[in-house]
Amino acid sequence: MTRLMGAIAATRFGLGARPGEINDAASDPRAWLKAQIRPDAALIPPGELMSSKQVLEARVDGLLGQRRSGEEDKVRPSANPAEEVQKAVLQQVQREAREGLQKEIEARSRHAAITPDPFAERWVRFWSNHFTVAARNAQMIGLVGPFEREAIRPHVFGRFETLLAASSFHPAMLTYLDAARSVGPSTVAARQRDVGLNENLAREILELHTMGVGSGYDQADIIEFAKALTGWTVGSPLTARLASLGMEAAGARAARGARARQAARRRILEQIGEAVFVEELHEPGPRKVLGIVYSGSAEQQAERILRDLSSNPATARHIAFKLARHFVSDTPPASATKKLEDAYLRSEGDLSVLAGAVIDLDEAWGAQPQKFKCPEELLISASRATGSQTTFGGAPRQIYVSLAQQPFTAPSPAGWPDDTASWSGADAMKKRLEWANAVSRRMVRGEAPTSFLDQALADLASKRTRDAVARAESAEQGMTIALMSPEFQRR
């Protein structure tokens, strides 16, 4: 019985058991999980990975550096026109971004395969998916990995409002949901530069990150919130130019005006690649969102709205439901959602309290695995079960692509789906079988499929599955069947 609870802790709450993990967890499964609620357990060492600021600076430097040296060259080599040089530099920057993404995926896969704090890592990935950014274009490729390390990991056991602000004001999110190029419609920049308001980030914060669709906000709230968010952008030479343009036209006079413009411009140039607030791009005036009027400091307007959204009961309900769906079943009982909702409200969005409440949910400890693993969970749990140091040869991209879940490429801001029907289509099953068939050849070096099954699932494996694995015609076939068994496909 305790081995069963240990197996549930390691598979449903963790990322799949590593050899010996079920026994470690079995003596007190809930305490084993709760000991992982530590801020440091959610971090991974950055190693050689680049920060978002470094990525964005490299991009700007690549382009500007090239332009400067172009000016110095009095005699431009005819075989190398400036345009081609610039193209080559951009290609180089893009190549580095793609390599950076590959390193991010490898570091993250390796960490998931070996971490002794798998519940903390599952918790990180839940929030990372909640606040999805995706590598959908050249600009985003270099930012998605740093986003998870900078905006998500440090805050997953802190207050929800801190996490929400860290996500909303990160260069990756500002870029992904177009806020970086959203400008107050009545600002000088909007009038002179053919730019204007973009509602995307405001809408998705309300719909996906906080209150949830149909929970009481309307189109007018979205537009007001979008206006409050204007001014928040990513520091770049262009933002600096737009800011000084705004000040110039705002009638800052004579020498003092010029100095102020210079200072504003310098301030932004010092913050290249960081989230910055540029008042000249912000829609002036008070804003009214969900009946509350926000006046006063322009810079704090959006932050104050985020704080109020964090404490909105609809947000508590939305998050409680998503967590219950993730840890209990696709259709969790109302009792589970209610307990999490209460924990969220009582603790004012303290995510370490909420994590404890998830572990304490009796509804999440049933003996029958309810959740169909998404492809990434399947791959991670398989590598953990073999005690591997990485996810299959350190080059997991191809496998992820074929199983239709390449990390950091969720199809929409709603993130990867978290239900059985989305992942159990006929084609998905075929791909899983092909994968299991291919990796089983590599996994059977010295390990019997029956002991693999016991390490990975212990008492969760049914007699039917044990028999099918034991009776296989070869170790490879036994391993394929173990990986494809109903219990290993679920958690």
Partner: protein, 386 residues
Amino acid sequence: MLQRLSRRAVLLAGCAGVLVAPKGRAATPDSRGRKLIVVILRGAADGLAILPKIDDPDIEAYRGLLVDRNAAPLSDGFALHSAMPTLAAMYRSGEAAFVPAFGGPYRERSHFEAQDLLECGEVRNVVADGWLNRALQRAPGGYSAVSIGPAQPLILRGDAQNVSSWSPAVLPEASDDTIVRLMDLYETDPVLKQALSAALGADMVAGGMAMDSMGGRGGPAQYVQQFEAAGRFLAQPDGPEIAVVSLEGWDTHTQQNQMLRQRLAALDNAIRRLRETLGEIWKTSALIAVSEFGRTVRVNGGQGTDHGTGGLAILAGGAVKGGRMLGDWPTLKAAALFEGRDLMPTVESRSIFKGLLRDHLGWTTRDLNGFIFPDSAAVPPAGGLV
């Protein structure tokens, strides 16, 4: 290869219980050869940019640079984006039609909710099964359906089992013996059993198709392959009557001209390839391409557009009574816009879907009104589409 396929077919017949294209249930005589291809353009495709109403007096002021200057004039003041020459030619030869102000009953602007409602055929609350799946449950013949892509879309989910999905393989296949053992292991697990047997059935049909091996979620580069795969399934003897293809990437908040041109060119190529792959069957086929909603009439701050309401439906195929614009044009006058910002839909999506199901493949109005699209008698099937 042939021998291998037939061996697998025998295996399936022996142990699966669920076959993709059930044999021995012939299609009804009057629907023989008729095919329906449902294309979902995910992300809200901008109908006003794809098929601009170039004689609308307000379009210049609203759209300016987002109107394609080389769009091909068709009729009634509409012009088709210049990236779609095949579709323009189809319109002129009577094989394509458009619904320029098309929309579902949904009036909010969430992609995800709107797509779910579009696919489940409900007005307000999302349910777990799709309208095409419910249609299969009341099909007038032994119909089946296939979706192209790794995930089963909601429109085909539900109790009807004669549904499959397919995307290309990248890894070596498991042996037949392993499959038999797994099918046996899944005997007590209906979800996995159905998924695996449907996958094996789909594989038989697509076997040997030379395709780009990069499966997974498609960008424009894969539109052609997806349509070709759909065509191959439909063109099989006893192949399914219905194919669903999801094309992602239509959410053009920024840099719309560039994004849209690329996607429309890919879609145009894909439609041409579908016609080639279907061969003679194209003459009795109908394709409908729809999006969850349209986009704002005004251009936003990033040379893009935001989530709107009224959108575009594209009909194509030899069975379609083409060369026509269907439904009224609501105009872009300020007073005619929905909430002062979006194109007002004049044709309800369900009327078009119901019209196609009834007149192309023979469903009864009664099933359409009550079961397939529940409580929808007030939105009667549109007549004369095919």
